[in-house]
């Protein structure tokens, strides 16, 4: 519900105690069993972090050199998941956003403070509807919501043809959990303008041309890789716009479990959009035998509510890599 609100009336909302949020800061919906597994891997995690620190160097100084020398090692390690404490830094290094930031000093501040955007009201309307169950974004007009607003507004000025489109908030929100406003802004620029990989701005331009293209391609990939399911989908008149638009528009950050979304983003930033297709296909492949027996309505439901085991990154991602 959109209760009336001015941007300035800061309301310190209820801040949940630590035990009520998971390790990523989301309010717990139900008690999950992940904490046991997390404890088990602590020493292994510490070893992994040490390896990563060596690879990156102080503040990322050795990174480029390392990637050039051992690209396959980097790729393999990223596919296993970037350690959470280094994620923000590594994301900036692999996306090319760090370079953009260094090349454009003061630009972000200029966009935030001095420019006005035609999208301001659209952005405000969606702020409280972006990761509403995360502690950082829950507080009305708190630091999380303000940062989110600033990044989105700055982008809508930076690229007026794109402006603000629903879905961009989830990208920005995800990034803001791992880096500062300015860093998040430049990472958004790197993605949409294509600093390293193909530009994503077509996902948000008028007509959503890249969404349409990706959905079309995905439909064909389903037919190619999972012909029986593809046939079943067309018999039941299911097309990817019914379930997969969000996958592409928000790169799985809209409704997928956060640990999975992060692992996908690790690979996405390093390898590009291919991983989104692969994860999508892996999900369908994993649930293939169930999906093939469902009729239209149950199919739609199943395609929007995958079982928990299908969304375990350590099961799903190896499957995705093999496609």
């Amino acid at each position: 519900m959109d209760r009336s609100r001015g941007i300035n009336d800061y309301e310190p909302g209820p801040v949940p105690s630590e035990s009520r949020v998971d390790r990523y800061g989301f309010i717990k919906q139900n008690v999950s069993n992940s904490s046991a597994a997390e404890g088990l891997g602590k020493s292994r995690e510490a070893r992994r972090v040490r390896k990563w620190r060596k690879m990156i160097g102080v503040g990322g100084s050795d990174w480029k050199h390392y990637v050039r020398r051992k690209p396959h090692v980097v790729k393999r390690r990223i596919r296993k998941g970037i350690p959470d404490c280094l994620r923000g830094l590594v994301w900036q290094l692999i996306s090319g956003s760090r370079d953009l930031l260094l090349m454009n000093p003061g630009v972000y501040e200029q966009l935030v403070i001095y420019e006005t955007s035609a999208s301001e009201l659209d952005i405000i309307r969606d702020i409280s509807r972006t990761f509403p169950t995360h502690v950082f974004f829950q507080q009305r007009h708190g630091p999380g919501q303000r940062s989110l607003y600033n990044v989105l507004k700055a982008y809508s000025v930076f690229d007026r043809a794109v402006g603000y489109v629903q879905g961009m908030g989830f990208l920005a929100g995800l990034l803001l959990l791992y880096m500062s406003e300015e860093d998040a802004f430049w990472l958004l620029v790197a993605l949409l303008k294509g600093a390293v990989h193909a530009p994503m701005e077509g996902l948000y331009q008028v007509g959503l041309p890249l969404v349409q293209q990706y959905l079309f391609q995905f439909e064909h990939l389903v037919r190619e890789h999972l012909p029986k399911l593809g046939e079943h989908f067309s018999r039941e008149m299911i097309n990817p716009s019914m379930y997969a638009s969000q996958w592409f528009i928000t790169v799985f950050s809209y409704s997928f479990p956060f640990p999975l979304a992060l692992r996908i983003w690790d690979v996405f930033l390093f390898e590009g959009v291919k991983i989104v297709f692969k994860v999508g296909l892996a999900l369908l492949k994993y649930c293939h035998d169930d999906l093939i027996n469902l009729s239209f309505e149950k199919l739609i439901h199943a395609l929007r509510n995958f079982p928990e085991d299908a969304m375990n990154p350590d099961i799903l991602l190896p499957m995705a890599y093999s496609i």
Binding site: D122, P132, V165, L208, Q246
Partner: protein, 216 residues
């Protein structure tokens, strides 16, 4: 949308939920199909889908409802969902004038992409926020009459008129369909027995349909 006939229902009607972003479409849908309301709901990306089966004048009707993202740019994806829809719930927010002013654009959108016989109900949502009202009920009523739409003020939060809004649409659709079926039967009968007099027009059907929806 005519799907294969199942034993679970007599009719299947496809309905679209449209209107500006943030007017409460998704909560109207969850209130109607699951009797749920979520204060912390996310903005809809693309389309969402839900169904509910209910009784309309003694028939079992399944409503298949597509909830669409409200932002203008999303129409590139969402307008495809108007095809085959026999009903539309067009929602605005009574606390936001702009969302009411945009109703005209949504009507144009329906005329461009939907079936010309589509049954349209306009809903002024968030009637629980009366103290923040920016659109009077009379304004809503007047527009509805001018455009020939059904109209209700609703509150998904308080579950006011949500049920009634869908009942009204579905009943109206049912009447149109049964009238068509009747006409088809008559046509079949008149061709079967050629030269059997002229067609009798039953003129007061419009009054009947209006009565029908309120009496349920």
């Amino acid at each position: 949308m005519a799907h294969r006939v199942d034993h679970e229902y007599d009719y299947l009607f496809k309905i679209v939920l449209i209107g500006d972003s943030g007017v409460g479409k998704t909560n109207i849908l969850s209130r109607f199909t699951r009797n749920e309301f979520c204060l912390e709901s996310k903005s809809t990306i693309g389309v969402e889908f839900a169904t509910r089966t209910l009784q309309v004048e003694g028939k079992t009707v399944k409503a298949q409802i597509w909830d669409t993202a409200g932002q203008e740019r999303y129409r590139a994806i969402t307008s495809a969902y108007y095809r085959g829809a026999v009903g539309a719930l067009m929602v605005y927010d009574i606390t936001k004038r702009q969302t009411f002013d945009n109703v005209q654009r949504w009507l144009r959108e329906l005329r461009d992409h939907a079936d010309s016989n589509i049954v349209i109900m306009m809903a002024g949502n968030k009637s629980d926020l009366n103290h923040l009202r920016a659109v009077t009920e009379e304004d809503g009523q007047a527009l509805a009459e001018r455009e020939g739409l059904s109209f209700l003020e609703t509150s998904a939060l308080e579950a006011t008129n949500i049920e009634k809004a869908f009942q009204t649409i579905l009943t109206e659709i049912y009447h149109i369909i049964s009238k068509k079926a009747l006409a088809a039967q008559e046509a079949a009968a008149s061709t079967a027995i050629p030269g059997q007099g002229t067609t009798i027009n039953v003129t007061d059907t419009s009054g009947n349909t209006k009565r029908g929806c309120c009496s349920t």
